[in-house]
Symmetry: C2
Subunit: 266 residues, 2 copies
């Protein structure tokens, strides 16, 4: 049995192009889960024979919904330097561009190091209640989510004065964290506007960025353990909002930083 995430991430290399296909497991409201699409594009770059180092930054722009079925990921190395490599990528269906992306890979070096911010206070994941919304949004079945604060607003709940959410999250079933897994997890937050409006207003990610901080040793230590994820919206205006988030190991290592711009209606 392949893990559902690895099944969804599978790519065939045909004539120098990476060909994938959507899986029902990762269905979102429209098209597949954006975090999976971002992870798939990263996977296409990572599997390229000329790839150097590990991903350090990734930006994925969602131009149009991906239809059920096959898609093609075209990747190109724009430049290879001594300690980093610059990539561009596009995901298309029948020649129609659905997603654009850029990424930088880097070779980690031994330098001074410090984490300047701290994870939010949170009880142990074992002491938090699960919130299962997979009957509503299918892809969430691939994650265990336990909210510490800012869970998805329920019926009768009023608008919240802020859009902060903090949750424990891990792959379901267990899967050791790697760069594609971390990428997908960075998009796990439901749209911040839901919380502010206490309503499921139409909303979707337009531009999604991940800065990868976890070293290979940290990913190794992390394994399939819980990740503490926290996010907040900053400004909502003119049909767009941004959010900024961080993902932490249980022992307080900042694994990744993620930002996004989304559209919303109403």
């Amino acid at each position: 049995m392949t893990h559902p995430f690895d099944d969804a991430l599978a790519l065939d290399l045909r004539n120098g192009r990476a060909v994938g296909r959507t899986t029902p497991d990762f269905a979102n409201m429209v098209g597949p889960y954006g975090g999976l699409t971002a992870a798939t594009i990263l996977e296409a770059m990572s599997r390229h024979p000329d790839r150097v180092g590990d991903p350090v930054s990734l930006t994925v722009n969602f131009a149009a919904p991906i239809a059920d079925g096959e898609f093609v990921v075209d990747t190109a190395i724009a430049r290879t330097n001594r300690t980093n490599q610059h990539w561009t990528a596009q995901l298309s269906q029948d020649g129609d561009v659905k997603t654009t992306a850029t990424a930088v890979y880097g070779v980690p070096r031994d330098t001074w190091a410090d984490t300047e911010i701290a994870p939010p206070a949170a009880p142990d994941p074992e002491d938090c209640a699960p919130q299962d919304i997979s009957s509503f949004v299918v892809w969430t079945r691939n994650y265990d989510m336990r909210f510490v604060s800012g869970s998805i607003p329920g019926a009768g709940e009023g608008p919240s004065p802020d859009s902060e959410s903090t949750l424990w999250v891990r792959a379901h079933p267990d899967r050791p964290l790697d760069h594609p897994g971390l990428t997908a997890m960075c998009d796990v937050f439901y749209p911040r506007v839901f919380r502010r409006r206490a309503a499921y207003v139409p909303s979707g990610t337009i531009s999604f960025t991940v800065y990868f901080h976890a070293s290979a040793a940290e990913l190794e230590r992390q394994g399939a353990d819980w990740v503490l994820a926290t996010v907040r919206g900053q400004r909502f205006t003119g049909g767009f909002f941004d959010h900024t988030g961080t993902l932490w190991s249980r022992s307080g290592e900042l694994l990744a930083v993620t930002h996004q711009l989304a559209y919303f209606k109403n």
Copy 2:
């Protein structure tokens, strides 16, 4: 007399390509100021006859230093939707890729709006002392900068426990703020690692993102007035660090959000 920023931003359209050239006014330690390069790429997209709406997000990856002289900016529209448009771009010299970029333009709509975060406390810009480092880094002569906190570490200053900086900044000489101007201003922060290490360690931006929140009316009101800019680093490790920043009008409007990943040595 053209304004130095507009002089640096000038592009000739030749055979469907935008051709620009570096100007001595915006010289950085190596190559031109990255904020200017990002603004120039945005300008090339904005001047395209098929452009729809205003920029809402921009990501620029700096792959290699731009040499003094001419460069070419190639832009492509990946997709035009009803209310947004997706772009890719590359800046090259003699066929050599120096910079890659993606952007999304959007048509603002009348929606619910709120700013969830607040600007940092700061005295009026008129009560802050200017810090002139243009003898050291030429491009800074194009800005008036008045630090509220976290100014560039001076001789004999020790490492700081955090990398936060807040400053008032405006174009010098006066220039009304527009999207290219705001883009360039988002890169005004000196490398966070300088402050943490109290040393000018080699450092440079790899990936730079701007989310534009200012409406046309807000840019109009802003004119050439001071902008309050604040930034902090989050994690420094393995030769890379990220920072996150916000730019505010004097009356507390969040004009833009900016994030970046940079490399550093030592």
